[in-house]
Every structure is written in C-alpha cells, then in structure tokens.
Symmetry: C2
Subunit: 186 residues, 2 copies
DNA sequence: GCAATAAAACCGTCCAGACGGTATGTTTAT
DNA sequence: ATAAACATACCGTCTGGACGGTTTTATTGC
C-alpha cells in the first residue's frame, strides 16, 4: 500500500527518482542483477508505475546511460571553455572531469555505474558511439600519441578507482594528474 | 543419455574441459548469459556432473578466473626472466604479455572475462588481490610514477580493445607499445 | 592377489523462486 | 471527458541447484 497517489503528481521528478534509485542499485548489483521489482520498491513506486515511465528494462538502462553521458558532456564542455590552449584541450577536460573536483559522492556513483552498464552489449554500442564522436570532434587537437596515451592512462586510473585496486593518497593523485596534463601538452 | 561413464574417468581432464567450454561460452554470451545447462551440455557432461566439480555457478567463475590468472602469472614470470634490466621489469612484462604476441584463444578468453570481472564484486575482489600482490612484490623496481602510469595506460588500452572503442591499426599499436616501454625505463 | 568396502565421479529429474512483462483497474490533472 | 499517471494482480519462462540414483576408482583387510 502506497500513498503515491495522494501526493501531488510530478512525473519528471518520479522519472528522475527512478533513474537515481536504479543507478544506486546498479552500482550494488550490476546491470544484470538489476531487477525491476527492486527499482520500483526502492523508488516508492509500483512496478506498473515504473513500467509506465520505462516500458522495458532495456529502456530503463538506456535512460541511465543517456543521463550519464549528458552529464559528462556538460561537464567536459564547461571545462573546455575554461581552457585557452587548444592543443590537448579535450584531453585535459576529460582528465579534469574524471578526477572530479566537485561532488565526490555523485561522481563516485556515476563512475561505479559505468562498468555494469558497459556489461550490456546494447549499451556498449551507445557508449562506443559517444567515444567515436569525441574522437572525431577533437581529432585536430587531441589525436597525438601522448594525448591518446594520457586518456588511456586516465581510463586505467579510473578503472583502478572503481576497483579500489590502487589506493592512492591525495598527493600521489595530484602528481599523477599533473603528469597527465604534461602529456596532454606534449 | 551419455556415455561418459563408459570411458575412462579423468576428473582433471573433465574439469579442464568444463573450464574451456565455459570460457568459450563466456566469449559468446558473456558471463551474465552463461548458464549451467549450456556449459554442461557443451562439455558433454550432465548438469549434476558439472555441479560436482563446481558446486555453484560462482565457483565455476572463480575457477575460470583463477585459471586465467595462473596462466598470466606464468607468462609474466617468463617475460621477466628474459629482461636483464631490473628497473621497470615487471611493467615491461605486463605490457608485453598483454599486447600478447601469441595465444589468441587465451586473449579472447581474457577479453570475455574482463567485463564480468569488473562487474561482479566477488570476482573483482579476487582480481584486486592479485594486483595488490604484484604491487607489493615489485614495489622496489616498478613503483615510479611513470611505471605506474604506463600500467594504467595499458589497462586503459586493454579496456578499449575489449570495448572496441578505439580502433587502432598495427602500426599505431606498435608505437604505443614502444612509448610504454620508454616510460617503464624513465 | 583378491574381495570387500568406502569414496569419488558422474547421471537425469524435478522444483522453487525470481523476473520481465501483460492486462486491467483506479486516481489525478487538464 | 479524456488522457496521463499510477496501482494491483497475475502469468510464463528461465535457471540455479537440490536430490537420489549409478558407475568407476581407490583403499583396506586378508
């Protein structure tokens, strides 16, 4: 028994709530282990309500990834606007955003969710498209060997942070970040 | 109806066969889509037989990962023996083995296992342990910033190859490999 | 050597629960 | 009034794995 029908309806908010809850569960259980029942329950919505917003599980996962990509795009675009030097600009923005100066809790959650998302072949394709788009868009400024290497290193670093396999203190992280910036300029 | 009980019993071989078949199916369907029935059928063993060797699905996946890790350990050890320079020796071996000259089947298995490895918390822990062990063991020779960075870059490169997100031709790959070797010496 | 006995290595079936999705009713906003 | 935004109930399938047999191998006693 829920009281959802008593409160004011706000479809957008419910949709957002569903996405956030799904993201959390995705981090815990992985995309494969994500169940519609669990999402609905955790969001305080019935399963029917969930399926109203996202007609299928696949749609829900697509929604998750699209949201993630949109946020990342926005953050990268903002970082790039603040960088006067064209060469390696995208790489630096990518590094800066992933190292995440701001909202750590949020960052960590979205980062951790990426892996489970990538486990699904259909979602992978979407992710790949985004990568390809970025590569094409910044081919003129970020295609050098060291820029590419810096981005790969960042991916590895990010992987390590998700796995918690390479515990690093703040000083080490800072040195690494600076080294990556160096590479982006070379 | 099977004839397994007619032929000579060889538990080790059956176990190995199960692992190989499971690995192959993992490549095809992904670890999430791996079913015990499918593994048992493909290995010519009943489901009961499979569950005799691996009491649960999790155990099967553990077995799969442990097998891969053992092989990788061997390959890395061999590569390290052939490298006279101590500094960065492990990093170079890691790079060399991952770039993988030979054993394509093995590489395909690693690729298939990578995503599940990152997605499943239990498998993740196992992998993390291995990383920690290596880091500790080679702390004296491979802990420099550039060595660490090279390994991170390699991980990123590996991920890209799994996701097929950064198509690279052989020449590019070779240049990247050389650059990583350079970093391991600095 | 050789039964006898235990233990390991299987086989084949069946089931309980989980899960995605449908079908239909009920409330709320416009 | 009508459509969107939910809730409730239910179904079919799929899958892990429990279970009780059967056959082969190993060990022990004599």
């Amino acid at each position: 028994m829920s009281t959802a029908h008593k409160r004011k309806k706000d479809p957008q908010a419910v949709r957002q709530q569903l996405l956030e809850v799904a993201a959390d569960l995705c981090v815990e259980k992985g995309a494969a282990g994500l169940t519609l029942d669990a999402v609905a329950a955790a969001a305080g919505v019935s399963k029917g309500g969930l399926l109203h917003h996202f007609p299928s599980k696949a749609d829900l996962l697509f929604g998750l990834l699209d949201d993630l990509i949109a946020r990342m795009d926005a953050a990268i675009a903002a970082a790039m606007r603040a960088d006067p030097e064209p060469h390696g600009r995208f790489t630096r923005a990518y590094v800066g955003v992933t190292f995440g100066t701001g909202a750590m809790a949020e960052e960590a959650r979205w980062k951790a969710m990426t892996i489970p998302l990538l486990a699904e072949p259909d979602l992978r394709a979407r992710w790949r498209d985004w990568i390809a788009l970025q590569a094409e868009r910044h081919a003129g400024t970020d295609a050098s060997l060291d820029c590419t290497l810096a981005r790969f290193a960042l991916d590895g670093l990010w992987l390590a942070s998700v796995l918690e396999s390479h515990p690093m203190d703040a000083a080490q992280a800072e040195r690494m970040k600076e080294r990556l910036f160096d590479l982006s300029r070379g």
